[in-house]
Structures are given as C-alpha cells and as structure tokens.
C-alpha cells in the first residue's frame, strides 16, 4: 500500500514537471513563446536522462552533495556563460551556492550539442520555481568556442 501511494505521489511529482510556464518573461511575439516552450519540452527529456539522478525530481539537489537548481541564484542569474561552462566541463571543485557548499563530482557534457545544452538550461531556468530567460544555441556555441 505504501508502495502504491508512493508511486502515485511520484507520478504526481513527475506530472508537475508538465506544468510549464507559458511565458518566460516579456516576449515580443507569440512565436517566441512557442519556441521557448518547445525548447523547454526538449530540455526536459535531457534533464531526465542526464541530470535528474543527482539534481533530483524537484530540482532541489542533495544537501551538501549535489547542488540545487531550483531557486539557485547562479542558475537563474544573468551569467549564462557560467552555467554553460558547468554543463560543458562538469564540476570537480567544492562549490559555494547561496551560502552552502556542494562537493560531489559532476560529469562533463561536451558530447551534448549546442542545441541540447541550450534546451536543458532553458528547461532548468524555467522549472519548479525558476523563471528566467532562455539560453540559445548561439550562446552555447560562443562559450564552447572559448572553452579550454
């Protein structure tokens, strides 16, 4: 019984993923809203495969181990290059986020395309309580070109 109620709650939690914001801040036209929504949808699939295991269903991470994405200032901040570099290169340092340290190793994801990295970051920046602008493939391309 506990298992069943557990599964139901899990499904509910996963369903809440579907609750995506229709807008991500001011947009010029209906077309760009659709584009962002599509990017978020594609990004969610990548999140489930590559990110969820550590950063969790609720984007909350694991205390002191895996950084939270939901509500993290660096994730929704304006320095998109910083989070693009983290996805590309992974993370093997102890990192301070909003006053807490996180230390688990994160794998590099250079194998993802510019489009995929843009999608997953757009998804992360617009899920749970996060609301921030999209990351574009062009922005990822520019950061990748300068990346070590």
């Amino acid at each position: 019984m506990k298992r069943i109620s557990g599964s139901i709650a899990l499904i509910a939690a996963l369903m809440s993923f579907q609750h995506l914001p229709k807008k991500t801040g001011p947009t010029k036209s209906g077309k760009s809203t659709v584009l962002i929504t599509e990017s978020i949808e594609r990004g969610k699939i990548i999140y489930l495969q590559k990110c969820l295991s550590c950063h969790q269903v609720d984007g909350g991470g694991v205390p002191h181990l895996n950084a939270p994405l939901d509500g993290a200032s660096a994730v929704v901040g304006n320095d998109k290059a910083k989070i693009i570099r983290i996805v590309l290169n992974g993370m093997t340092d102890r990192v301070e986020i909003d006053g807490e340290y996180y230390s688990n190793n994160m794998a590099p994801h250079k194998d993802l395309t510019n489009r995929q990295i843009a999608d997953v970051l757009t998804y992360v920046r617009n899920s749970w309580t996060n609301k921030a602008s999209a990351v574009t493939a062009a922005e990822v391309k520019a950061v990748r070109a300068k990346n070590k």
Binding site: G6, L48, Q49, L52, S53, G60, P68, D93
Partner: protein
C-alpha cells in the same frame, strides 16, 4: 478517534515514565533515572515499535554527525562542515533532569564526522585528522584547547571524505578512509568511462586503516591498511562478542545513468545493495570491481570493468554479513549492549540510514534506524525498521525535502538509544517504557 487513542496512549506512557523508581546515587554511574523525562506527543514524529517512546533532547544544534554519551549522561556531538570557533564538538548537558539539554558548550575548531568515547578518552575526527581528548572522572574534557593529534595527513578529496573511527580492546583505532570516487572510472561519474585497472584509489583510500590510539602524529606509513575494497564506510563499530570490526558500506551509485543500456532506472534504484561486513585483517570487500546484487545473492562484476549485470566476480572478496536495500546510506552502526530494551535487542546492531538520493526518479527511501538481531557476535535474523518517520514525509520525492536525516547513534548509560540528525540538528532519545 485514532488521534484520541494516540493521545490516551501518550498520557499512559508519560504516566509510566513518571513512576520509574529513582535510582540510588551509588548506581548513578550505571543507571540514570528516567523520572521526570517526558516523551513527546507523537514521539517527536518517530514511528517506533510498541513500548518505545521518544523525545528530542535538543534541536537546531547544527549538522550533527556521530555522537557519544558519557557515563554521566552528557552527550558529545561532532558537527560537520563549517563550524563556529570552539564549536566543532558540542557537549549537551541536561541540568534539571527533564531529558532536555539546557546547557550546550563546545570545543574544537574543525568540522568532521567521527566521534567516540573509549577508555577515558574522547576521540574526534576532521576530514583529514584524528584527535583525542582525555576525560576526567565526570566525563568532561580536561584540556579542550589542546587535544592530542594522533593521526594526520589522511586523504580528503571532497568525496566520501568523512573519517569515522572506532576502537578495539587492544588500544588500536580504526579509521575509514572513503574512496574519492564512485566506481574508480577514468573520469568519475561520467557515462561510458572505463574503470581503472588496478584501481589506484585503493592505495590511500577505499578501506579501513588501523593505527595506535595512543601514538601522536601517525600517518599512512605508521598505520596498516586493515581492510580494502570498501567504497565508503561511515558507520562502523567493534563487536565485543566476536571481537571483530563491523562496518556498513555505502554501495555504488548511478548504474542506470552511467550504463543505461544495461540497467533500468529501477535496476539502479534497487540493485547495488548497502552491505554490512564483518572484517578480519587483510579482508577485501571487492570495490570497485564488484557490487552485491541482493536479488541474485551474488557479487556481480561492475559495468566499468566489463560487467553486464550477470557476470560474477570477486572470488577473493568477502561476502556481506547483512544485505540492505540500495542507496539508503548507512551513516552509523551501534551494537546495543544495554539492559533497558527487550532481550531481543541485546548485542544486536542498530543502523542509522541517512536516506537515499540515488534512487531517483523512484521515491527516496531510508531516513530510518534499522535493527539486526545478533547472537554471539553474528547476525541471526532478518533486519527490520526500528525507528522511522525522520523525513516527516509520507513519500520523499527529493532528498532536500526530508526534514531529518539520521547520522549518528549512541547508547546512554541507562540503555536509552540516541540518534542524531544532520539536516536540522535534532538529537533524539528513544526509551523503552514497556507495553
């Protein structure tokens, strides 16, 4: 109706505590009276077997890791992470006999996990060193600012960095040095990356090292690699009946994320067991080359080393003494030697499960204290959940949501069981009051 019934039973339990006879002063070193101590409504949120009650001795003390209780009933708590000056170790004292700690003092400037009292000394660890402090006949640290540094220079690479300690009866101290790796891949936690052969991590980590408890400034060259092939051990305890070291291993992570063609999400959530080992000098538990599959009851070759989920390996590796579900994160092990609990608990093992994160996207599990019956220093039956409900949630979908995470265990002089929580900094005390 059910609530009313709970309240009634609580009243009865509290009344029961109140009638416990006060012990004579001459017995006070061995038995602390529970008169005046009140169990909390709903047992502080814990689900316990019939006859057990619980209270919170203290709350919000910080990231409470391992704990120990003196013969006088003071509780020492090791705090992890950044600690305030002089607050790396806390001493909690109940000054008025109500079971709550009114007086909290501190010592030590380092964060860490390991803490144990043995033979008149308090031993405590940072993530790289082990210190000891002599105690006076009241169980108080004689010289808080000048500990003896007995072990130094242990590897700390920010992964599995906790150094847990326990002692045998011959003056040896055992220290866990966790592997700074998940499965010894060329690139840690990266899909498709191969396992390194032989795994170089094992030279300085991934095992238990033995040192002398009374010798200063020892490091790797002074110690013995007592057992190897242990990915990360946070809970360990010496079993006085079998005169043997028992440890709880944190099993490997990410079978599915790293090898999605071989393992499903459910495989990852359920296969790589958490394992208890009885160790003898020279033992190898097999990490990183194998993991233990609880359904097949076999040591299976790790996928980083060519495994397919079926190939067996680790012929020379020891078998676990007890097998637990995957990813529950056993952070403390305690052999219970008290007389307060019913006879079945005597000399058995309590295991504090910190609670999982790597079961995602399946619900997280653990956040509990388990019990394993033992006889003559060997496990004799199935493990069971002893105390549950620490998470405060019906279902834990994300680890961040768990309210409390068990991390340390200690036995009080009256046989009470203490549990620490490193999420909210709660210290619980579990008491048997009878049915």
């Amino acid at each position: 109706m059910q609530k009313y019934f709970c309240f009634l039973s609580l009243l009865l339990l509290v009344a029961g505590i109140g009638t416990t006879p006060v012990t004579k002063a001459s017995d006070s070193l061995k038995v602390i009276s529970t008169a005046g101590i009140r169990a909390e409504e709903e047992n502080a949120g814990l689900k316990l077997p019939p006859g057990f009650v619980a209270l919170k001795v203290a709350e919000n003390v910080g990231r409470a890791r391992h704990i120990a209780v003196t013969a006088q009933g003071d509780i020492y708590v090791k705090l992890m992470g950044r600690v305030a000056e002089g607050k790396g170790i806390l001493r909690l004292r109940d000054t008025n006999g109500d079971g709550k700690a009114e007086e909290i003092t501190g010592l030590g400037n380092y964060g860490g996990t390991g803490l144990v009292i043995n033979n008149g000394y308090l031993y405590a660890s940072s993530d790289a060193e082990v210190f000891r402090y002599q105690l006076n006949d009241k169980g108080e640290v004689i010289n808080p600012s000048q500990p003896e540094k007995i072990i130094t220079g242990l590897i700390n690479r920010r992964q599995h960095e906790s150094k847990s300690v326990t002692l045998d009866k011959l003056g040896n101290i055992y220290v866990n040095i966790g592997a700074f790796s998940n499965s010894c891949q060329e690139q840690d936690r990266t899909p498709g990356s191969k396992g390194r052969m032989p795994c170089p991590v094992l030279d300085s980590a991934g095992g238990i090292w033995q040192f002398r408890a009374d010798k200063l400034n020892q490091t790797y060259g002074d110690g013995i690699r007592y057992a190897t092939g242990l990915r990360n051990v946070v809970g360990l305890d010496w079993n006085n009946q079998s005169d043997q070291l028992y440890v709880m291993q944190h099993g490997r992570d990410d079978l599915h994320r790293l090898f999605p063609d071989v393992y499903s999400e459910q495989d990852n959530a359920e296969i790589p067991a958490e394992t208890m080992y009885a160790l003898n000098k020279g033992d190898d538990a097999g990490w990183p080359y194998i993991y233990y599959d609880p359904a097949q009851h076999k040591k299976i070759l790790a996928p980083e080393y060519g495994g397919d989920g079926k190939k067996e390996a680790g012929k020379d590796a020891i078998d676990p003494a007890v097998v637990f579900p995957a990813h529950l994160a056993p952070n403390a092990l305690l052999f219970y030697t008290g007389d307060q609990f019913p006879a079945k608990y005597k000399n058995g093992a309590f295991v504090a499960f910190h609670g999982s994160w790597n079961r995602a996207p399946l619900p997280q599990e653990g956040y509990s204290v388990a019990f394993v019956p033992f006889e003559n220093g060997k496990p004799t039956g199935k493990w069971e959940i002893f105390a549950d409900g620490f998470s405060g949630l019906e279902v834990v979908t994300g680890t961040r949501g768990a309210q409390h995470r068990p991390s340390g265990l200690a036995q009080g002089p009256d046989g009470s069981l203490y549990v620490s929580d490193d999420q909210k900094g709660t210290i619980y005390r579990i008491i048997y009051k009878g049915k």
